[in-house]
Structures are given as structure tokens and as C-alpha cells.
Symmetry: C2
Subunit: 160 residues, 2 copies
Amino acid sequence: MIILGIDPGLAIVGLGLIDAKNRTDVEVIEWLTIETAARLPVSERILEIHKDLGAFLDETKPELVVIEKLFFETNVRTAMDVSQARGVIMLAASERGIPILEITPLQLKSGITGDGSADKKQVQSMVVQILKLKQIPKPDDAADALALAVYGALTNERER
Amino acid sequence: MIILGIDPGLAIVGLGLIDAKNRTDVEVIEWLTIETAARLPVSERILEIHKDLGAFLDETKPELVVIEKLFFETNVRTAMDVSQARGVIMLAASERGIPILEITPLQLKSGITGDGSADKKQVQSMVVQILKLKQIPKPDDAADALALAVYGALTNERER
């Protein structure tokens, strides 16, 4: 099963694509980011994200998209920018009939490491181990996206 | 000039369409709302908004879209929901190359009534007068959308 993890953002969207044969046989396919320039109006930035992500979905045909639910407490401005981007990201998947799994940061930590209080480093180490990578993928947004995809693989297996 | 005002939302999107011949000759064409059911997943709701708004834009061909900038101080959850919807709303306009004017609630009040401390009622009364309506359009979302469109007409005239 091809699973795409997406770390949403307006400036940078992390994408992590994996092939999950089963819970213990999970292979990375690729990871990348979509980036948009801050000098552009938001309307153009979301247009670019929607178009680039759409092309990526058409090319890679994931069967499941896993996206992080946002929790912001401090910066509402950032929350709204990221949410606008998240809207067009979810739209691109919906338009293609791809199921979307939304998970919280707590679910991600707990699902990957078994410990909801794990830090980002622990989550990433576990992802490196599961995907048999040599090191933590860069940038962070791509590493987070891969973690989301791995979560999808683990959950999906559990539900079979 | 056909101008569309949009009051963004996830549950209800207000649309107000006007024909602005010049600053003093502004006619309402129609107003309506796009509504989505709370029981549906957000991914389906934004898909519906994007599709319905897209069809409306294709049918009415506005030359300018005026949309409110969001300011939330209390409910981040609502801010994020509305922002996701706002993302796909802006996308629908961007995809068609329609210019988007984003204005703050303060700009709207001040632009319509000449007084940034005006309340919603005063703004709506002024809009009724400018558009020569018999009463304030219902629901509020549609009335707000018409106010945004009128703002676009006034601003645009000033810039000519």
C-alpha cells in the first residue's frame, strides 16, 4: 500500500511517500518538499501548493494520505496561514478520492514510539529504524511527513 | 464591473454579486450562500465549497473577488476551520485568474460608512442604501458578502 504523509504549511509542505507491504515491511519511496516564496500573495502560494501536490498525487497515486491535525496555542496568524494551505492540501486529496487520515501530534508520538511524551528526536529515530534509513531525512518537514506515513502503515495494519 | 464579495466559512459561505458601473451606480445582481453539513468530514465540506464556488464563478464571471481577512482572538479551532475553507475559496478564484482583494473588518467599516468604529448594523444600512434594497439581505453572511462587494466597487472607483 502506497501511503503519503503530509506535513502541512504555507512556506513549506513536507511529503513522505512509503510502500507498506505490512507492519514490518515498510519501505521508503521518496521524500521531498513543496516550497513557496514569502514575497508572493497567499492566493498564488496556495495555487502553487495545490497544483504541485496534485501533480505529485497523479504521478505517485497514494492509496492513503496521512496529515497532521494542527494545534496552535500562541500564534493565530501562523495557524490561519497553515490552515489555508491545509485546506487546499486536503482538497487535492479529496478531489482524487484518496482517503485522508488526520492525526494529532499526540497520536503520532504515541503510535510511533508507544510513548505520547516522546520528543521529535525519538520519533525520528524510530522512523529511521522502521524505514531502515542511514540517517534522519532533511529537512524536518520531510522527516515529519515520513513519520506520518509510517503511522498510517502501522494503523492500517492494526485494522486489517 | 462584476464584483463578488465573499464572507468565508466552513459551515456557510456568503456570496454577494454586484454590477458596479461607477461609484454611484452600483446594482445588486444576487446574493446566496453555500452551506455544508457539520456531520460531514472537513475534507468533503471543503471539496463541496470549492466545487460549488467554482461553478458559481464560471457562471457569473466576476472580474474582482473581495474577501474578508480573518481576525480571531478567542477561538483558534474556529479560526483554523474557517481558514481551511478560506484556502479553497481563494484557490477557486486564483485558478480562474480573478484578482482577489483582501480587506480587514476595519477597512470594511471605514470604507463603507467612513467610520472605522461603525457597527455591523450601520454598515448594513449603508449597503442597503447604496444598493437601493428594500431591506437588509438575509442571512448575515450574504449581507456581509454584499458589503464586501460594495467596498470593492468604492475602492475600485477611487483607483481609476
